[in-house]
Assembly symmetry: C2
Homo-oligomer: 359 residues x 2
């Protein structure tokens, strides 16, 4: 990221950029990543890329919540194994999920006994966790940080919608919560993917109240963070190989394109949405696409990071998006604001002759 590097040297001595962003002077790396997913995800377009999938969506547990916790624990253990480190070498864990009081995370990571910060950012949590992992690693607060997040179709339907047995009809704007978990080890140890910078999102509320059209609720927040990233870092769509949103889905994407165009940028050729990537629209019928914390996290771990590692994509803006709501706020007539966090990921070429890490 030469442009950002030059900006740092010439214009701003600090790492902080513009209103909401950080460009790390000495960037941390994603040392390893792991993805665990369910049976529907296993037969989707990314099925062969996940590290682990289960035909049993309960993952051997008695409840959906325990299943989600088990996915998180498995994703963490896999990521630790790939980084060849033990849980006790991780300084701090940053994790969260969609469930009330974040129980999937509390129960999931408990066995690892890593000092932890619990997060809630709805489906933007993978970005929030990566931002805090990167900030902590770059500041020297520990050698390794672990970020993890998850969602589960069964636990999410129970949390936000109707019992599965009720077999409710879903509107065409609805999205399908991904059953999956992604975990990421971040640190200063060199790998082929560096976290060059972050753009922390604000809450953006256009007043929409339809929780069955979350793409529309989140598109304004995605727009705000993407445009803020461009302006804070002095870059544009041309500087990225991909601009990846979390789970706007088909409806959210079309709104995103319009809103970003209104700000003077055209990202259509660079855009990819994890919710539109993880399921096959022709054969899997998820209506507007996939969603959930696990959607962006597993797509990043399984599909996006390998492309950055290989150098096929040199620089990616990863922008998971969250809809901030609960059944209580919805039933009380509150709107559904959105939030999105931007993570600038860059391919890092190995030094000649130097052994490098593969995520």
């Amino acid at each position: 990221m030469e442009q950002m590097g030059q900006m740092k040297q010439k214009e701003q001595p600090e790492q902080i950029r513009g209103k909401q962003s950080i460009v790390f002077a000495d960037p941390p790396y994603i040392i390893s990543a792991a993805s665990v997913a369910g049976s529907k995800e296993a037969v989707g377009p990314l099925g062969k890329f996940f590290d682990m999938t289960s035909q049993d969506d309960q993952f051997g547990e008695k409840t959906w919540e325990e299943a989600e916790s088990t996915m998180q624990k498995e994703a963490c253990v896999l990521a630790l194994g790939k980084a060849r480190i033990k849980a006790e070498e991780v300084r701090y864990l940053f994790g969260g999920d969609l469930l009330r009081q974040g129980v999937a995370t509390s129960m999931g990571v408990e066995a690892l006994q890593i000092p932890m910060f619990g997060l809630f950012g709805a489906c933007s949590t993978s970005g929030e966790a990566l931002a805090l992992c990167a900030m902590s690693a770059a500041a020297g607060y520990g050698k390794y940080m672990l970020g993890v997040t998850s969602s589960h179709f069964g636990s999410a339907e129970k949390e936000f919608r109707f019992p599965l047995g009720y077999a409710n009809q879903r509107p065409l704007s609805a999205q399908w919560t991904v059953t999956g978990s992604g975990a990421f080890v971040v640190g200063m140890r060199r790998s082929r993917v560096k976290i060059r910078g972050i753009t922390v999102g604000k809450i953006v509320d256009y007043g929409l109240k339809d929780s069955q059209n979350m793409g529309a609720c989140m598109a304004p927040a995605a727009t705000d963070t993407i445009v803020r990233n461009f302006e804070d870092m002095g870059v544009g769509p041309e500087d990225y190989d991909r601009i990846v949103t979390g789970d706007l889905g088909y409806i959210g994407q079309s709104i995103l394109f319009d809103l970003v165009k209104g700000k003077g940028y055209d990202i259509r050729k660079k855009h990819m949405d994890c919710g539109m990537t993880i399921f096959d629209q022709e054969t899997q019928d998820t209506h507007s696409g996939g969603s959930g914390c696990g959607c962006a996290a597993t797509t990043l771990a399984s599909f996006i990071l390998p492309k950055i590692e290989s150098g096929e994509w040199k620089r990616v803006l990863f922008v998971p998006t969250g809809a901030l709501m609960s059944t209580v706020s919805y039933n009380e007539g509150a709107s559904v604001p959105g939030i999105a966090h931007g993570i600038v990921l860059e391919h890092s070429a190995p030094d000649p002759g130097e052994a490098d890490e593969i995520c």
Copy 2:
């Protein structure tokens, strides 16, 4: 904190200490703090110390959730005013609450339009927020950080227990959720309270399942963090003027004393619990004491920080405690693990002739 300072110079060049702690080489300050509380808190022992109380526990809003959001917003605005800064000068906000999907925070801080990290740490959230504010400020990620948290008796009873109109009987081990919010501006600008270090907590689960006895569920986590703080930083009870837990209450306190004694330390003469301080046990009948994110946050802002500012207390270990559970995890028979984060607060004397900040 000479002892910690010397350790840093001689033994460990890094800020990281032991297994879970950071001692800041250049410590950030709590520049300002503000507390907003409800009608029951207003007539309690700390009533006269709160910045704002309301006789109307709905704070002019239609729902308990909106009331809680309004408290958060007011607390933030008051803290910003005391620090004489505008919301747009705050780089990042770290906030959370007890409600499902953190809606009190999402709806509360939205108007401030500060880039935000949503947190969930149950009643330990004030410690989690202060830790992340301090880490971010000390790392130079922005001039000012804002930490905020809240709880509300009405919204918490609805979230976790029964409708208020049901007038359910509470067991003697139960605690009373504090209606209140505390906000803190953290930065490198000098004040009379510095955040000398932090000890990030782990999830500790002794297998207790009684959500109506949260003091017992959280005492093991408080023990773990306090003892870890002693060991990581090479200090003991004698190095603190007070060791303040968040909301263990009367039952939790007695368990804490026993557990800490089992680890070889006696903290009885130094201990204070916010849940035992905020309500009067004789006249206010809250059974085991106060609880909720707002309990530790408002007690810190209104009562503890002024004593550190004045120099009456030179060094305090502030350890808010959280019980990690939801109605779903409880109904499914899961245990209630705890987590606690430790914040080392120190009196900072003004330089001779230098104007200093008063929180």
